[in-house]
């Protein structure tokens, strides 16, 4: 990596515009003093606004950008790496669109297409690291050269925000590759060898501890989406859980629950929404701030990484039908008619049906199904009933559509500009939300043996899920209605209950928490990482393939999930680029 060149690239967003202008017409380019010229170097940016802008660029890398590593593979939602790889979703769309992702779904991760996608993710995450480090370096040079330019409190928060973001980008890479190199602002040699997975986790937590110490408890300038010490603390618990440090995680997560600012939204429809009144509510811990109609002329600040995952041509969104829920996931939402608990816990045939789960099927279901999955005949938020012609290729991607990240018609969150603007919106992409944190806390409680604490959390989540359900969706007021509303009987039989019997077996409790996590966070790019964390990815996914290949032809070509799938292969190009005195990267085992 050429650090100087990359740094110029980061700082030079304006420079791109300038060079484009120079190609278009260079009449007065060299003499017109009002036109910004050349690359923005560190000297030009050595002001408070320069530092703030650089920090914003570090935040911006949370989702797909048109810059380094920008592709569907670097979407904030992780729909490719956390969802398509799991039993929650198919790649969707059709085989010949984005064919590089086909072998991701088929667990053929040494196939050439996968390397290209992985390389985008790698580049995007380390671009995030570079931008975070550039912010810290610039901040330090400004505070030493111009004391007073930035207040001490601001400087501490800026450093904390950048340090947090650096930890996040490394964590994202860590979840894919485990054995990653860690880069801080003082690094000058970019040929480092990879650390072990355990060492890298230690470094991530070290950065999060530093961020906790630096950050204020409430967001700077009142900007709701900025990270705070609570964001960093919550995230630390997440990393500890991911690293199986259950006792440490329990302490961290309990502290966040007991003293932090977070709470669940009152109903599930307010979690993923285009209504600005509900964005960055108390459930949001970290979210990519999608923005539409803000003056950017191509919609590039919107939900770009997920724009392909809307229903296809017959729908109001037009394109492209990626990231479709699996039959397995839809079946998993069935509940027991008496207890309202997941049917999968008591009915061994819960996954027997391969039939289209349309509005006509009145099997009792968890109401979260219809905030997660688009199915025929059921109102799709307030867009009217989902219809078979919204599906691009049923034999390939199945008959269901993705739903959570789609804006409500009445929300006005749709972008009015950009290519196929109907699939661009300002719905924030949740990277970490409070329900996710609570369910991790429940896991930690189970591991600690305090099963009743875990049960209370799971019941809290289930109670919320049973408040408002998908309504008839004819206007803003009927998108979500009480579960008792008789109108819902036309398309669903909603049934959800709490665990009323105390949990006495750790295994039963553990499985119940895991089931709840799947139901609550389905299609949010978490499932595959969870299966890995729990050490059950091979068992669960091979069982999934065995059944699901009878439903979807492409899974007939799936490779068996083996121990090497515990980590993704490091892109060969990155291994080659890392050759140098630092020793360079080594490929993960088995690839």
């Amino acid at each position: 990596m050429n650090y100087a060149a990359r740094k110029r690239l980061i700082l030079g967003v304006a420079a791109l515009t300038v060079s484009a202008g120079a190609i278009a017409g260079c009449k007065n380019f060299l003499t017109d003093a009002s036109v910004p010229q050349g690359t923005l170097d560190a000297g030009t940016l050595a002001t408070k606004s320069g530092v703030e802008g650089t920090l914003m660029a570090a935040y911006r890398q949370l989702d797909f950008t048109t810059g380094v590593g920008g592709s569907w593979a670097s979407a904030a939602s992780n729909w490719i790496w956390g969802s398509v790889t799991s039993d929650d979703a198919y790649k969707g769309s059709e085989a010949t669109d984005q064919p590089n992702i086909d072998p991701v779904e088929q667990y053929q991760w040494s196939a050439p297409g996968v390397e290209s996608e992985l390389n985008d993710k790698w580049r995007a995450m380390y671009e995030g690291v570079v931008r975070s480090n550039a912010t810290i370096n610039l901040l330090k040079s400004v505070t030493s050269a111009k004391p007073g330019e930035i207040s001490v409190a601001d400087a501490r928060s800026i450093e904390g925000e950048a340090t947090f973001l650096r930890a996040h980008y490394h964590f994202e890479a860590w979840r894919l590759w485990g054995n990653i190199p860690y880069y801080r602002e003082t690094d000058t040699d970019f040929s480092k060898a990879n650390m072990t997975k355990a060492q890298a986790a230690t470094e991530i937590i070290k950065d999060l501890d530093a961020a906790i110490a630096l950050l204020p408890a409430s967001p700077r300038n009142g900007d709701k989406a900025r990270v705070t010490s609570w964001t960093a603390k919550a995230y630390k618990g997440r990393v500890q859980m991911s690293n199986a440090e259950f006792a440490n995680a329990l302490a961290t997560l309990r502290d966040v629950r007991n003293s932090g600012p977070y709470a669940l939204e009152s109903s599930f429809d307010k979690v993923w929404t285009g209504f600005s009144a509900f964005e960055n509510g108390r459930e949001t811990i970290l979210a990519y701030q999608a923005s539409a109609n803000d003056g950017e002329s191509n919609g590039n600040n919107a939900n770009y990484g997920d724009r392909l995952t809307f229903p296809h041509s017959g729908s109001p969104f037009g394109c492209c039908g990626f990231h479709q829920p699996s039959q397995n996931l839809v079946n998993f939402f069935a509940t027991d008619v008496t207890t309202g608990l997941p049917a999968s816990q008591t009915n061994v045939n819960w996954n027997a049906s391969s039939a289209n789960f349309t509005a006509a099927v009145k099997t009792p279901v968890d109401p979260r199904l219809d905030f997660t999955v688009g199915r025929d005949g059921v109102p799709y938020k307030d867009w009217g009933p989902h219809s078979p012609d919204w599906i691009r290729s049923p034999s390939y991607g199945g008959v269901y559509s993705n739903k959570k990240h789609v804006h409500e018609k009445a929300s006005g969150a749709v972008s009015l500009v950009g290519w196929n603007n109907t699939q661009l919106n300002s719905v924030n992409i949740h990277i970490f939300r409070y329900a996710d944190l609570l369910l991790m806390l429940a896991e930690a409680e189970v591991e600690a043996g305090t099963l009743e604490n875990a049960r209370a959390i799971v019941n809290q989540i289930r109670t919320r899920a049973g408040t408002l359900v998908q309504g008839p969706g004819t206007d803003a007021a009927t998108i979500a209605v009480p579960i008792t509303d008789p109108r819902t009987a036309a398309y669903a039989n909603y049934r959800i209950g709490t665990y009323t019997t105390p949990w006495t077996s750790q295994t039963v409790a553990r499985n119940a928490v895991r089931d709840e996590r799947r139901l609550e966070l389905a299609m949010e790019g978490q499932r595959f990482y969870d299966l890995r964390r729990w050490g059950i990815a091979e068992t669960v996914l091979n069982a999934y393939i065995t059944v699901e290949k009878t439903r979807r032809l492409q899974l007939g070509g799936a490779a068996a999930v083996a121990s090497r799938h515990a980590l993704f292969p490091i892109p060969t190009i990155q291994i080659q680029l890392s050759k140098g005195k630092g020793g360079g990267l080594t490929q993960n085992p088995g690839w």
């Binding site: 059709e94 085989a95 010949t96 669109d97 064919p99 086909d102 072998p103 088929q106 053929q108 040494s110 196939a111 050439p112 297409g113 996968v114 390397e115 032809l553 492409q554 007939g556 070509g557 490779a559 292969p569 060969t572 291994i575 490929q587 690839w591």
Partner: protein, 209 residues
């Protein structure tokens, strides 16, 4: 298959890769340089002959020893995105009864065969008659109202002798712009499907008044 080096996604009819480093398995560590886009030599012949009022001239160009990476195969053999494919894929793809086929098996789930390999690389040598022209100087006795005139017929790119299976081994320049500007130098010998050189016939008259 069992006798071959271990290869992910191996199946009958798919492309079999070389275990370059001989470790018994085909991985990214087996990547190597396949060929050079630079010719061993290029040559041209300029011919001219005149007899009486007739003249003939020709220009023959040859390029030898260069390799072409036919990136088009990604589309017309391996069906990247929803594109048309070569018509002969139907008859010339591998099947259990067509073992020495020109193309690998038609297999939607084959995500490995399309990896960059020598399958895309072909000898780009060619000899081409770039230009041939036959002219006739019109005798002053026929057309005495003009001082001098010559009529001719000309053919450009009349024929090309090559083993290359793509459209045009001379690889006319395409646009290739990257972040660093013009990156055509990085695409030497890569056939990205640029419109081929056209065969042109012309007749003309040269005169003055």
């Amino acid at each position: 298959m069992t006798a071959s080096p271990k290869q992910d996604g191996a199946a009958p009819g798919r492309i079999k890769f070389v275990d370059v480093n001989g470790d018994g398995q085909v991985t990214a560590a087996d990547r190597t340089i396949i060929g050079s886009p630079h010719p061993s030599f290029t040559s041209s012949f300029e011919l001219g002959y005149r007899r009486g009022n007739f003249d003939i001239s020709a220009s023959v160009f040859g390029s030898f020893g260069n390799k072409i990476f036919d990136a088009q195969k990604d589309f017309y053999v391996f069906r990247d995105f929803s594109t048309n494919v070569r018509k002969d894929l139907l008859e010339n793809s591998w099947t259990p009864t067509n073992l020495s086929a020109k193309y690998p098996i038609l297999d939607q789930n084959d995500t490995y065969s399309k990896a960059i390999s020598s399958y895309y690389v072909e000898d780009g040598s060619y000899v081409r008659l770039r230009n041939v022209q036959i002219g006739w100087n019109v005798p002053a006795s026929i057309a005495r109202w003009v001082s001098a005139s010559r009529v001719y017929v000309q053919a450009e790119n009349l024929f090309t002798i090559t083993g290359y299976s793509g459209l045009d081994p001379s690889l006319p320049n395409g646009n290739a712009f990257g972040a660093a500007g013009d990156v055509r130098d990085q695409f030497r010998g890569v056939d990205t499907g640029v419109y081929p050189s056209s065969r042109t016939f012309s007749i003309g008259i040269t005169t003055s008044f």
